[in-house]
Symmetry: C2
Subunit: 467 residues, 2 copies
Amino acid sequence: MSLIQRLRDSVGDAAVLTDPDATEGYARDMMPLAPAGRPLAVVLPADTAEVQACVRACAEADVPVVPRGAGSGLTGGANAVDGCVLLVTTRMDRILELDADNRLAVVQPGVVNRTLRDAAAAHSLFYPPDPSSLEWCTLGGNLATDAGGLCCGKYGVTSDAVFGLEVVLADGSLLTTGRRTVKGVAGYDLTRLFVGSEGTLGIITEATLKLRPLPAAPGTIVAAFDSVERAGEAVNRVVRAGLMPSLMEIMDATSLRASAEFLRADLGAGDSSALLLCQSDAGGEPASAELDAMERLFKDTGAQWTHATTDPAEGGLLLRARRVSLPALEARGACMTEDVAVPRTRIAELMAGCERIGAQAGLTVAVVGHAGDGNMHPTVLYDGASAEQYARARGAFDAILALALSLGGTVTGEHGVGKLKTEWLERELGPVSMRVHRQLKDALDPAGLFNPGALFARRRPAGGRTP
Amino acid sequence: MSLIQRLRDSVGDAAVLTDPDATEGYARDMMPLAPAGRPLAVVLPADTAEVQACVRACAEADVPVVPRGAGSGLTGGANAVDGCVLLVTTRMDRILELDADNRLAVVQPGVVNRTLRDAAAAHSLFYPPDPSSLEWCTLGGNLATDAGGLCCGKYGVTSDAVFGLEVVLADGSLLTTGRRTVKGVAGYDLTRLFVGSEGTLGIITEATLKLRPLPAAPGTIVAAFDSVERAGEAVNRVVRAGLMPSLMEIMDATSLRASAEFLRADLGAGDSSALLLCQSDAGGEPASAELDAMERLFKDTGAQWTHATTDPAEGGLLLRARRVSLPALEARGACMTEDVAVPRTRIAELMAGCERIGAQAGLTVAVVGHAGDGNMHPTVLYDGASAEQYARARGAFDAILALALSLGGTVTGEHGVGKLKTEWLERELGPVSMRVHRQLKDALDPAGLFNPGALFARRRPAGGRTP
């Protein structure tokens, strides 16, 4: 029997797409720079047993499997490779359980992040990880990439919010990791080995996630500075003072101007070099105290102006300038968006370096980022119609990665490696760590079935093993 | 050259012990039930290069290496196996860096938990994991076991407090994992694969740990109940109300009486079946509000009495009843201390079940535990001089493990598997997970050099691989 027929038998005819017009829409995520191939088929299993059947069929046919959620990724991690089966989890979209007394939820991988947030909020509970794509990204993708977001400085990232997983392995068997208890140390931490493994070790078919009490509606403070150095120093002072803002974002002058234009609003930052946007969700008197303390520190650091509000609606409007920054920049031309992270104390150096790199390339580099956790998103602007500008932009993109590493940082804070940064992963981790990575990959997926080309640069030595 | 001579050349003569009188003191941790063998030698390396040299020498001689910190473990995880080299990290006891602005510390494995806490406090920072042995246990051991403590319901366990590690692998090479940034997703989460791996995958020679702002001195509330069910319901109500006490401990009647006797104090719980001890470190008004809310909930649940104080000294005295519970029980006879964890909502069922198991065995089972995270330490009391009572106590010990699993729990909440619960690990995880565990062990330590008999039951199939 052909593979396609086996897949049809496994998931039903309607859940196997082979027409290129239909499969093309699944072949790429949101990162245009990463390579993408043409899938043999797209399958949309409805449950764990169907995922197992698809994996077994592909394993026997020696056809690679690329898992995919909503396709909101920014590294090509879910991009097709030629001849692969794209296994799309969006039909597995049920919240199986929400146990408020034990503060946990059991979900299928296709549940949209926002859907879980809303379901948790109905029980006065909170699922912290909040990637910018939370309105449409799936939890399966969040788990595969260990997604972050804006609240991570205070509440951690996806791997901090997982009790356990159910995972389909390369031989089709079903692994259960973790537990439902707050504490538990029985065996290796397999849960966190699979979280962030970008679909290279198995396919997550269920997750038990940690919820927290819903925090109070946040109060907001905005502060403008005449230099990124001063804004960076203000971030340091907030940390040094022992404050834990629930959000602390930074924008440079280019992003500010782009957002102001995009929103047709005067953000009051006409001659500023950097804006800090911070929130406290401590509630009531503690929130006011935290906002007051930040305002004092910002003024002491020489802020041009500050503005604080405890009105959540006004706070939301202020934050909009940050949330629209990427679309606002895209309205100006093509964008290459970075995802480096540096120690919090090196943010100003990174921003100054990005300006220098932009000047050297003759291009603009705009910087926005999560100042609270050092995860910055410098964005190289270029003319999408010019191959020469594209090449210069790629050069600037790489120079920013090298800069982040030289500052003691990482080439990816929250987006992942995917098929975009495999060589940079080797550069960051070095040969011993890469050897351990390959040993683990070979131990769990010896034939290289899952997501070839992601994390590991693709090479198939004669008669060799993955990847 | 003999192995002993190579070890002497590696670490110096004085740091290699072979006299049984000297090595005997290192052969066991604090758990008398776990098997222990006779080491060939004890080595005390002074730095990472010496650890590498020892590991290489042992690998070439095919002599197993058992890593050991202070020996405060409760599962025989650091117990010698016959003919092994015990690699003791206590001489590697320096805090290499304390970076207050990035809220991190870089430590060697032999640093005592308390030493780091004190160093952090000098910068108004806080290292949360607080195992009961914090006065003398080492951070290396905390990392190897993913140690917990009393504050974990609010602040997490050791694996939540690690940025990265330096690890000596089975071939003597040096692996660096993780990073110094708050966020970072470059590659597999190797850090958390090694944390909690109980010395079976490598030897941790350095760790970069996360610090938090030092919380306020805690306020304390104590409440007595006439049944464990009512106390369990009170815990549920605290969780349901969205409260996050920094500590929530429970003691049953037997533990209470033992502690009262031990302290020669009237704990005011003469006819009570259970005591809850809770703290809030939210500081000032928020702490008072949290304590008030708990007091109301406890009264609504039918507490016999409650007593709240914001005086840290008085709170410390109240907490002493909990802290001395194990020595207080040991004053009454031999003890087998359990370390199960259940979902928070099942605590009362576990406690009632322990009483039933004790009655069936004709022995007393006292229960204390971390109610805030469901990690309970039932302790079977028996006459250490009676082989027959020992056998009945072992039966009760196993029955409690089975009970915890039947309640959706785990056989170890924070102590680990060690050489004590290898069969129970298989029972909890099942064959697929055990296969994955063995695949990972074989990938990283194919010769079974590190800590044989820990995590995996010891068997050496003819010509087979580990473990």
